[in-house]
Amino acid sequence: MPVLTRIRTAFAVLIGLRIALGPYPRLAGQPDALFRPLGVFKLLPGMPPLAVIVAVQVVGVVAAVVAVRNRRRAPFVAAWLCLLFLAGLRTSLGKVLHNDTLMLIGTFPMLFDDEDGWSLDVGLAAVCLVYFFAGVAKLRHSGLTWVTGDNMRYVMLSASRSGKPAFPAVARAIGRSAGLSHLTAAFILGLELTFPLAYVVRKLRPWFAAAAVALHVGTWFTLGLDYWLWAATAALLLLAHPIARASARPPAAAAPVARSSPR
């Protein structure tokens, strides 16, 4: 089975889970005065009613299940569009939410690729650019003070009192230590600015995948922000070929070893 099909199937699972478990039905009932859409969602007059949101969720989950079962592109496209719609509604509350954006962007090329696999390369390039531009934005708006100043200490101390992190002691410990705060900030900015190297130097990809997962798990521990889709998207696209090889290994290959092992 082509690498693209395996990776697209993995993303279909993630999209299905996101659609099924997301807080979308709770968005219904928002007064029109509070509706703050972005981009094409400005075409909507207000938050759709509950029936519409649930219907899109059902269609999205069914499409994701079909995409996993028959591994074709069309149901994947349908599931992707449903997530785009639901996540777009979620970001219409006022705050620009980035939780779903990396997966939507990284998988966008797969909507147009049947079997050639070019979409994995383009998706990875897009993911690398997103991280890079996040680093550039920090330099542009704050300069190196983002790392060398007390910025990270204030971020961590505020987060530790926000009630969001499950383990506020981690954020508090980093915030109280100037050294740990500078190291944390340097790791984040360094990772973001060097991310395009992962596209160019294939050998570095497992390291960047591990670092991206560490960054987003750390973000959850310290700030209580849910970026698990970013971690999954970066890891899946960076490690697409090893993951596909591992999942393609026939189970029979491992069986003789198990049988011949001494009791």
Binding site: L93, K95, P109, F133, N151, Y154
Partner: protein
């Protein structure tokens, strides 16, 4: 597809445009300092002022801090609509507020672990 996607990403990033899901990627890009500006809203119920209980309201009412930040750019009519929507929501939890007040806030955080202090200045109020 590649040109559209990578070009769009680059354009939005360089121009700080929010064309969701494309973005300017300003994730935590502003430096946090000891004094952090913000906004707060309160409801006056039976003559007593209390913070608007956004956490107790449905998710559809979350994100208010971003709406509050737009108050300086809103027309009086638009402000009244937003205040009215919040007053209706508070009404479902208890007595209807007679007034919604919007404050500019400055939160002062110290590095020595003492609790932060918040100072506030009334920006506007709307009867409901």
């Amino acid at each position: 597809v590649a040109v559209v996607l990578l070009g769009g990403l680059t354009l939005c990033a360089l121009t700080s445009t929010e064309a969701w899901p494309l973005s300017g990627w300003k994730l935590f890009s502003q430096v946090r300092r000891a004094d952090q500006g913000g906004w707060a809203a309160t409801a006056v119920v039976d003559g007593a002022e209390q913070p608007l209980p956004f956490a107790r309201l449905p998710r559809a009412y979350h994100g208010a801090e971003h709406l509050l930040a737009e108050f300086p750019r809103m027309s009086p009519g638009r402000r009244a609509e937003v205040c009215g929507a919040w007053a209706d929501a508070v009404d479902t939890l208890g007595p209807r507020p007679t007034e919604i007040r919007v404050y500019r806030t400055v939160t002062h955080t110290t590095l020595d672990g003492t609790p932060p202090t918040v100072t506030r200045n009334l920006f506007t109020s709307c009867p409901s």
